[in-house]
């Protein structure tokens, strides 16, 4: 019994203090870590590939009219998978090393929106080349995805607001 307790004591003492200061001090993840994506709206051509593969279905596409496509991202739902960046034909998406999704001001902090001028585009979807047949765009043509934000229209409203 005593011997066992001693062994356990040695095992516990040997490593010394290992607790990190995070979140009081920053703790940067190591090199290959994948955080949430950042979108370069200047590069985006509005092909909709990222929306087709995003497992969290957080990328919504709305064709306001023939000229304008609006892409809304509700990044609060992002699972850091990096699929959007993998398929983007224009390299408009970069995976950052940032991972903290909580905000003190509201969910809007985690939303991003971009508008792409698409006047001559027929929305045939051919500018997006899926890496496999399983990643094709399921909804080509003009689109009007429902944007379910955290606020008024949210399905979780009854939990979040009252």
């Amino acid at each position: 019994m005593i011997a066992s307790k001693l062994k356990e004591a040695i095992l516990s003492l040997r490593p010394g203090r290992v607790t990190l200061k995070y979140p009081f001090a920053p703790h940067d993840p190591e090199g290959d870590f994948r955080g949430y994506p950042e979108i370069d709206t200047d590069k985006c051509i509005g092909c909709g590939g990222c929306a087709a593969v995003c497992p969290a279905r957080l990328i919504m596409i709305q064709d306001i009219d023939q000229n304008t496509r609006r892409i809304v991202r509700l990044l609060e739902r992002c699972i850091f998978c990096g699929r959007c960046a993998d398929v983007c034909p224009e390299d408009a998406i970069t995976m950052t090393k940032r991972f903290e999704l909580s905000t003190d001001s509201g969910r809007e902090d985690m939303e991003s929106e971009c508008q792409v001028f698409m006047a001559t585009c027929q929305r045939c979807g051919r500018c997006y080349e899926p890496p496999s047949a399983l990643d094709k765009i399921m909804k080509p043509g003009l689109r009007n995805d429902e944007v379910k934000r955290g606020g008024q229209d949210s399905p979780y409203k009854h939990i979040s607001s009252e």
Binding site: S4, K7, L11, S12, D32, F80, S132, A133, D135
Partner: protein, 558 residues
Amino acid sequence: MNVQQLGETIKDRFGPDVIDFETLGPDQLYVTITPESLVAVAEHLYQNEGCRYVINSGTDRRQQRDAFLITHFFTQDEEKIYIAVHTEVGADDPQVDSITPVVPAANWSERETRDMVGVVPVGHPDPRRLVLSDDWPEDLYPLRYDVAHDVHPPPAEGVAPERLEPPEGASVVPIGPFFPVLEEPAYFRVFVEGEQVVGADYRGFYNHRGIEKLGCSVLTYNQVPFIAERICGICGYVHSCSYCQTVERAAGIEVPDRAEYIRTIVLELERVQSHTLWLGIAGHIIGFDTVLMQTWRMREPLMWLCERITGNRKAYGMNLLGGVRRDIKPEVYGDIRGVIDKIGDEWAELAAAIPGDSTLMARLQGTGILTTETARKLGAAGPTARGSGLAIDVRLDHPYAAYDRLEVTKCVHDSCDNLARVLVRLEETLDAIKIIHQALDDMPDGPIMAEIDEELPAGRQAMSAVEAPRGEVFHWVLTGTENRPERWRVRAPTYANLQCVPPMLEDNALADVPICIGSYDPCFSCTERMEVVDVNSGQVRVYTEEEFRNEYDQPGDK
């Protein structure tokens, strides 16, 4: 007996009741039978063919066949065969004979099928609701194709759960609904006489997330691996692998060798991670927090390693159909070996200290007995089964990924108590480390992802399983149109193991209840992956020990 012979045997025995059977490879048998013969066939498989029950599934095929497809899954572990018994019931009269009276382990899943698909198991000994909340509308069956994935019925007032009284003279000690030990929703009502436990109730399924429904209604084939991974927060990769293997099998996609090795390595890393986490929790449960602190300290470098290899410490996002997304670069091999060897050394030290520690032994030895017989009857899986002397391990019984090329040891103990389950996991962790070394030694070169140029054919099916840290994870997929499965059925190991808890608790002191529950490493979230967000009405339904006894201890039951 090979798979063809097994099919023939069933056909010979049941004649015209067997409408058809087909095989997939050397290890999968699909038998379609008439509804009238279902009970007899199930009993035959369970009693005469030595099969273990896995799960039941219901599929709404009214669009294709004007019928519901009811499927019972079995496995014959010695012959390495998975068996699916299909039967179709007409859409106008959705009921089917219950097999629970002859195969006790079917209890929960038949009720789940009733809740979700609306096919009533006739003659079920306990036909109460299992999965849906008490105020869910009677005639709304979430897994039917014409029910939307995000349907949200209003909460109802004045609904009462069916609750059973404790035995005469016993008092009730509630544990839950928020299970304090694992910080997950589960509600045990433990019946005690003085210090002695005389029975227990379980009510769970507070946390349905609608994952199967999402997979069959809004997601596409390549989106599902990511949500599958979220079925469990500790060992999610097993689900993502199992799902991918199932669809790959159904569609005939050849996964490159290197991808199989990578999957194997990540699976074993996950096992080490999960078992170290579990041992810490177990220590915490019995009030020995040193164990918690030290095992989690040992575990942390492994989490960082996984972050390096996969991009995240948990929920790796490694799998897509056809292979893996990230290669493990040869430069990292050395680091992997270093990290796991360090854990291995410390783990061995810790394992050596445990048998000499009388505090620990007093809590573990002879407590939480789950007999071999009960374990088999209720379909226990993984370390829970192996701690009760059942030598089952999917890695050896139904090899997947690269396990057929590696040396794996079945760690079995037969003292059937909490200690046995601890020892199984202690040994298994060291074995996992060996497996990782072997896999790194033999790692073949080559591509890590198969090319998929065409859409997957509809109407194909396959089964696949993975030995998760908690036991057998089983998936079945029926491929569909629109780039997604028509039906995807998941069975997490806790679904089976949870049904073993009430018998395990009996005759223990109240103080030992938490470790008994903890000892099978429950993962309530895995179990509750099914369907539709529970509106958290706070209402309680119970499942009592008494009922378990009534149902399971029937004469003639093995």
